[in-house]
């Protein structure tokens, strides 16, 4: 198993009450699998993804990535883990608007101190892999939604991570762009990447090998397709 969560609890304290975002989620995601986390909006899917990806810390419980408990890691060690083992793709693309497609991909490599020549070569290769070799110098505002998301996928792949965490990667795309992006994701999965997609799109969930359903912060169901 490449990802294991044990009794994950996440609460937010407000002035008056304690709000539970996750109420003890335990799950296991096999290496190289294509998994989906589904469920209604506001029930804790994204919070679960943030905890798995080390973007946030659980109130209780543990996350194991490749057998290592990430709860005990410092902020700096977590950042290194995100840079080397995890690639994120978000619903709203989250590209840096002042950088070109090529520079957006290079930026991810900068954090692992890859030399600039290697950054350039790899960025070109990855953008070509997602079908954007003609758009190297384009800024996000000059690209369609589908193209921006493919740049985001190329960026997620920049440091050759084992895990790709995607939060509603097609949630903001038209059907044509959705197909483009899904094709790119399947291609990566076939190459051996562990892909975890958070979505409320049942069509994507049907294509996944393993599906986890989250409701009210709890694991409400789990099945294989």
């Amino acid at each position: 198993m490449i990802i294991i969560t044990e009794n994950l609890i996440k609460t937010y304290n407000t002035d008056k009450a304690k709000t539970y975002a996750l109420r003890g989620i335990s799950l296991e995601i096999p290496r190289g699998s294509f998994s989906c986390i589904i469920g209604p909006s506001g029930h804790g899917k994204s919070t679960l993804m943030h905890l798995i990806g080390g973007l946030d810390r659980p109130t209780e419980g543990h996350v194991f990535i490749d057998g290592a408990d990430i709860a005990g890691l410092s902020n700096s060690e977590l950042a290194k883990l995100r840079a080397s083992k995890i690639g994120f793709v978000f619903q709203f693309f989250n590209l840096l608007p002042n950088l070109t497609a090529e520079e957006n991909v290079e930026t991810a490599m900068m954090f692992l101190k890859t030399d600039e020549k290697a950054q350039k070569e790899k960025a070109k290769g990855l953008l070509s892999l997602v079908g954007l070799s003609e758009k190297l110098r384009a800024r996000p505002s000059e690209l369609s939604g589908g193209q921006q998301q493919r740049v985001a996928i190329a960026r997620a792949l920049a440091n050759d991570p084992e895990i790709l965490l995607m939060d509603e990667p097609t949630g903001n795309l038209d059907s044509e762009s959705e197909t483009e992006v899904l094709n790119a994701i399947f291609k990566l999965h076939k190459e051996g990447k562990t892909v975890v997609i958070v979505t409320h799109n049942n069509e994507i969930a049907k294509m996944a090998e393993v599906v986890f359903e989250i409701k009210d912060g709890k694991l409400d169901g789990q099945w294989k397709n």
């Binding site: 943030h50 946030d56 978000f90």
Partner: protein
């Protein structure tokens, strides 16, 4: 991609804000350099004038404060005067040469010019003047003038041209060779003629004194003070008090410039804080793709530092240009009028250039510390969830 490149791309993305923030630090540094540079040139010039004073001691009317002593160098006209009786008594002291002179003012073509009444032969010997053209005064009561080379050049005056002073016409009898000091921009006439012309009676403004034995300076000072009711100041004391005044004025001006730089520093803080709020989501993206806290800190600190580097370079260059352009005009000030004589050269001081540049970068980095710290302390999920 690297951190400096990313920082540079970030600060230049909002061109208007970038330019205005940069202007703030640029103006601050430019004013700092201008004032420092002019202050430095002024000090050099004062040292030069004092060294060319040709006197070991200067006698002034009793009770003059340091500011009034400045007029010995500037040639400024002041109401107090020394009676000629005192001059005679002082001249009688053995071992010193005392030369009195009277400083008044006139206007040639609406420009103020000092008119100095002198004992012709005594002053010529004292100063070691030589003539460029014409002749020197033949007697102590000759109704003519001898002018400095700067005056001849500035007002295109030639021998035997008539100059009107206080309603009377005086022919130019001679033009002095360039001396490189304030004598180049003065009009000289015999003391007795000047005293009559200005109606000051039998009085002079100052007495320049040369002593035979410099090691006995204190003795001479005591003797002079016992002989006449006057104040005596040595050239070194004079220089010290004038420099202290100039130093105070320079320091005050530099403090004003420092306030401008402080305001610019707050401008940088404001710009950086605004950038953090605007780019909160981007900070989250950078963290998600692997940026450590220290990297985020570095990016923002560098952005701030770039304002200091760019503002410093432009500011220092602008400051040097401003001070070069301003130096001819500062001579229109009474206090600095004497600087006109040598066309104050603004010195290209490497210490000033690099010091100001470093100061600019230092101020910008200090300004960037808090915003950079705030940016680095954002949690990834807080930043990435920011709408």
């Amino acid at each position: 991609m690297n951190v400096p490149k990313l920082a540079l791309k970030n600060i230049t993305r909002r061109k208007g804000r970038f330019i205005f923030t940069l202007l703030g630090i640029t103006i601050g540094i430019a004013s700092f350099v201008t004032l420092l540079s002019l202050g430095g040139s002024l000090k050099n010039e004062i040292k030069k004038q004092a060294s060319e004073l040709g006197a070991n001691l200067v006698i002034t009317p009793k009770g003059w404060c340091a500011y009034e002593q400045v007029s010995v160098l500037t040639g400024e006209q002041l109401p107090e005067a020394i009676p000629m009786d005192d001059v005679k008594k002082i001249s009688a002291i053995k071992g010193l040469t005392a030369v009195p002179y009277l400083i008044e003012r006139t206007a040639i073509k609406n420009s103020p010019v000092p008119v100095i009444g002198i004992l012709p032969h005594e002053m010529k010997a004292f100063k070691g003047w030589e003539l460029e053209k014409g002749n020197y005064f033949a007697s102590h009561d000759e109704d003519s003038i001898v002018i400095g080379s700067g005056i001849a050049q500035q007002f295109k005056l030639n021998l035997m041209d008539e100059v009107t002073i206080r309603g009377r016409q005086f022919p130019v009898k001679g033009i002095l060779k360039e001396t490189g000091n304030k004598d180049d921009v003065a009009v000289f006439m015999p003391l007795s003629v000047a005293q009559k012309l200005y109606g000051v009676g039998d009085k002079g403004s100052f007495i320049a004194v040369k002593v035979d034995d410099i090691s006995k300076m204190d003795e001479y000072i005591l003797k002079i003070q016992e002989t006449a009711n006057v104040a005596v100041v040595s050239d070194k004391q004079l220089l010290k008090s004038v420099l202290s005044i100039v130093g105070t004025v320079s320091l005050t001006l530099q403090l004003i410039a420092a306030v401008a730089i402080l305001a610019a520093a707050f401008g940088i803080i404001n710009t950086m804080m605004t950038a953090i709020y605007e780019r909160k989501r981007e900070i989250g993206i950078l963290q998600a793709i692997g940026a450590k806290e220290i990297t985020i800190f570095k990016i923002f600190l560098l952005e701030s530092g770039f304002y200091g580097i760019l503002g410093g370079i432009i500011g220092v260059a602008a400051g040097l240009v401003f001070s070069s352009l301003a130096s001819p005009y500062i001579s229109q000030n009474e206090f600095t009028a004497f600087l006109k004589s040598s066309e104050v050269a603004v010195t290209f001081d490497l210490r000033l250039v690099f010091g100001s540049l470093l100061f600019s970068v230092f101020v910008s980095l200090i300004s960037g510390l808090y915003p950079a710290w705030r940016a680095s302390k954002l949690t990834p999920v807080e930043a990435i969830s920011y709408e």
